[in-house]
Symmetry: C2
Subunit: 330 residues, 2 copies
Amino acid sequence: MSEVTLKKLADLLNLSISTVSRALKDHEDISAETKNRVKELALILDYEPNTYAVNLRNNFSREFAVIIPSIANDFYQSFISSLEKEARLNSYSLIILQSGDDPQTELECVKRCKQNRVAGIFVSITQKTTDISHFLKLAESHIPVVFFDKVPASGFCNKVCVDDISAARLSAETLILKKKKGILAIFGNEQLSITQKRLDAFKDTFSLHNYDARPDIYHTNSSAGAYHYTMEQLALPQQPDVIFCMSDEILIGVMRAVQTVGLRPPADIGILAISEGQIPTFYFPQITYVETSGFKLAKLAFSRMLGCLAGSTQVQELKTESIIVEGGSL
Amino acid sequence: MSEVTLKKLADLLNLSISTVSRALKDHEDISAETKNRVKELALILDYEPNTYAVNLRNNFSREFAVIIPSIANDFYQSFISSLEKEARLNSYSLIILQSGDDPQTELECVKRCKQNRVAGIFVSITQKTTDISHFLKLAESHIPVVFFDKVPASGFCNKVCVDDISAARLSAETLILKKKKGILAIFGNEQLSITQKRLDAFKDTFSLHNYDARPDIYHTNSSAGAYHYTMEQLALPQQPDVIFCMSDEILIGVMRAVQTVGLRPPADIGILAISEGQIPTFYFPQITYVETSGFKLAKLAFSRMLGCLAGSTQVQELKTESIIVEGGSL
DNA sequence: GTGAAAGCGCTAACAA
DNA sequence: TTGTTAGCGCTTTCAC
């Protein structure tokens, strides 16, 4: 059974191809009767326009690409889930590409996007991406790029981010409000700008409030690191009163240690995290956290993309607001 | 700056379009010198073939679609992560479509796939999908379909699944081997075939071994349900010795209850789950589980898809093997 | 070795 | 109101 094309419909109906095309598009100068005949047959034969031909002709597609280090991450998962829905409701499709956190692979992904003539690209760059010229060059091909989450430090480009500064500030203020004193704060990889932003805002907030206790700061790159360090600290005669976790990854390590030692929040120890929101629900009591939602960020990124496609040329830097979600761990 | 096309290269080099096309493809009857000239200029001008034109001409694309209820799920996440990688290494792209577990939306996704002339579709159907004729009809358009995980009960089609029966059997055998007696087994929605398969195999294994203890079976549809039921059971004078969780969702609820009451595995209570593998690492000690890996399933599904594209017409039902991963909870 | 030309399925300007 | 035609960028057959 061969493909149903406009030509086939036209032959069957003794009409020209263009009439059939226009009838299917409800073009005004086709008679109602012809429209009905055409549409009826199209329905019966299950006609679907050939996207390649349409795109080739119109020189434009309805596909967005998302380039991320890895989809196996709660944050990106919620981001993509939300983005796909927005896209689908706007008749766009979403192509997923994983860079594996490798700049070389990322470059190949960009090339692929260009080949596919995608309508736009959402990208969260790798930890090692410094040169973003291949992204900026996409402007020549009129492919808008919206950077999200992990965005380049410099460059005139569209960026949508979680507001790290307000998230960290909100965390610190929460601790101050609850008059917590022995604060252990565990942060991620010191090299990353996300860590620096959150750390600076966190520390500054204590200074600004002239608070009489200052947090102990520790850095680690992994869940395991957080686990081991927490184990050490919990073995000391002077245990911390509260542990602040900069990310879900760190929270997981800390909670394993807390469970290992048998401490029970909030009585034995307080826990506060910055989190995407899923992990905190796995524990009892659920962890109190400052939310950095992928869902919200996706909506922001998508509307920015539509803005670009609508012709907005100036670049924007947007941020999502943070809110605190009360569990029972503090 | 306009697009770089074959025509543009040809004009610039004073060659014909077809010569340029052939040169770029290393066609044998183009001279080495011409090839070099062409390739050099193509590189300089950053030429990329127009995928739409290529696909239109060849009537075939290098895009696969994945239709799933929702990407926000650890199992699908690992499946897609793995599938994307396989696809990329084979120069395919992956389009993600979420059905929202709604048959109507699923139907629209299929339509979209057809329009996009995708090279093949991977699909995990919704809980309510009964009519799969729209999938079977894709055969007419020569679009192979590989069902995975949630597959239709009937119909001649390609299916790759986690082996629920062997996973449940392995779980039961593990409990028997460890001579566990007071077994509480919590299963999911009784209506789902996955639940029935796992339940039947689980129970049968105890019978087959003439084991002198039989598990208490309970069904629930949610984490919260598992939590509440576990709380009830742990309040009884005769607490269970071990709790078996059919899925990650149930495990999360059970563990919240276990933590609430303050029991510590494995001394106070044993825990065994069937799991995708991430959740069990969040606890201490880590939960012992029978693995049902999305990664493995993706590899299986992908190779089946390649088989279809290579012309294999007969349908196959494939299953991944289960293995037990020892934590310290049993 | 290279070029000319047809055609993939569709849209839209122009004709009738 | 409907039809004719050119052309989007590419591949490939056939001719030179």
